[in-house]
Symmetry: C2
Subunit: 262 residues, 2 copies
């Protein structure tokens, strides 16, 4: 079984002031994913559908009074409903490409504790897989056990790490808007080089990699999650979803420009 | 805690050839529901968003070969995605009216056995209620444990009955497109009278009531579910959502034309 993460930045217009789909990218990416015909889970980011509300309503910040609590509830509602719309559009497109995509709504069964997944029964995901479906999950606003914050945003990255362990994934593909992990920030340092392979021992300039972050977790958070997977012998691969053909090659097991974490 | 069922027939254009929202009705109904300010769960039907695909793909019928299985999988995907869109639009409208509506996707945690709910952990629904949210569920296409059918449609009616027991609801309001239960079919028999109160002992002409059915379960199925609730001292009330003011009165505890089942 493979897990593919589709970055919110590749599917949505990231800096849009209202949630906006990148329809052209979505259509192409869904086509490329459809080249894989075996057990697969897809996890997508929230992109502009999530961050706009998550930021506006400060979901995950400490709640200090009843008014803030009410406002946070409103924010959780809006975030969930917004990412549900994005997820709908993605699943519909995947289905049009022949993928039996089925939504597993994270906030309907995941609860975090201090922003880390604490409750997540994957039984039904296994059942959908056994029945030939492709479960689709996504970054979402969830309940948190910590009474101080009560709510949290879980990133698609955290979900893939959890599922990869729990369901013993063979490999993980992260298709985002960067080519992979660089020795330094390629946008500011023309000498920066793409690192083909990262292991526990690789020295990384995490500060500069932070600049290539997507909004939830950032690149450094992503690397830490993937190194934990590597410790459990689950190999992952960061590729650029913006480059046509990359996802198709990666799911087909062909060489792709990117970074392998093992 | 009260549970309100909003019939798919009141929220969607029932006989439409493609899923179509009844926006005017939805707007009014959401306003009326917002008069209730205490613990509440909302369950809505699938209306034209569900039945079109459920019927076309014969979800719930016995699967006799691999091709039928593949086709059923496609149908489950399409049904789930379609009702997810309806649910999105309903939740967004409820939120606009100030209701902290949060979707609990039935197919993400409910599994049936021979079309009856067999797995349904309501822990997270309780947590959302305790946190001040209004959980919203709906008729959906789910996995079924029966190897012969593999998939089933669960009606909103089956969900409300299950939740009403499990979460010890105080009362249940079913707002649909009929005034209540009649002595005979009011569309064909001008002498038919609305029954104010139905109990286990009431003699019902179930055949004629069948004509007033909504598509999942039908009126007779509905009455049987509600009589089971009544046995457990949970009172329910059938009212017509098409009549402006009915839902507002019902949630406010005022007298409404309709049938009480107790």
């Amino acid at each position: 079984m493979i897990i593919i993460k589709l970055g919110g930045s590749a599917l949505t217009v990231k800096d849009a002031s209202t949630p906006t789909l990148d329809e052209e990218n979505l259509d192409r990416i869904a086509s490329e994913v459809s080249y894989y015909n075996d057990d697969m889970i897809i996890v997508h980011g929230a992109g502009s559908y999530g961050h706009i509300y998550a930021d506006e309503y400060k979901i995950g910040d400490v709640i200090t009074n009843a008014n803030e609590h009410l406002r946070r509830i409103e924010g959780v509602c809006k975030t969930q409903t917004s990412v549900q719309q994005l997820n709908h559009d993605i699943c519909q497109k995947l289905q049009q490409k022949g993928i039996p995509a089925i939504t597993i709504k994270p906030s309907s069964f995941i609860v975090t504790n201090q922003k880390r997944i604490a409750v997540c029964d994957t039984t039904i995901i296994k059942q959908y897989l056994e029945n030939g479906f492709v479960p689709v999950l996504y970054g979402d606003a969830v309940l948190d056990m910590d009474e101080d914050i009560k709510f949290a945003i879980i990133s698609g990255d955290q979900i893939i790490t959890y599922l990869a362990y729990d369901l013993k994934a063979d490999r993980v593909i992260l298709a985002s808007d960067v080519d992979g992990i660089y020795t330094d920030n390629p946008k500011t340092n023309p000498e920066a080089k793409l690192i083909d392979e990262v292991t526990q021992d690789t020295q990384l300039n995490t500060t500069s990699n932070e600049n290539m972050a997507d909004v939830t977790g950032g690149m450094n958070g992503k690397i830490q999650e993937l190194l934990k997977l590597a410790e459990n012998n689950i190999q992952s691969q960061i590729i650029n979803a913006q480059t046509p053909g990359n996802i198709q090659k990666a799911v087909s097991g062909q060489n792709v420009k990117g970074t392998i974490i093992k």
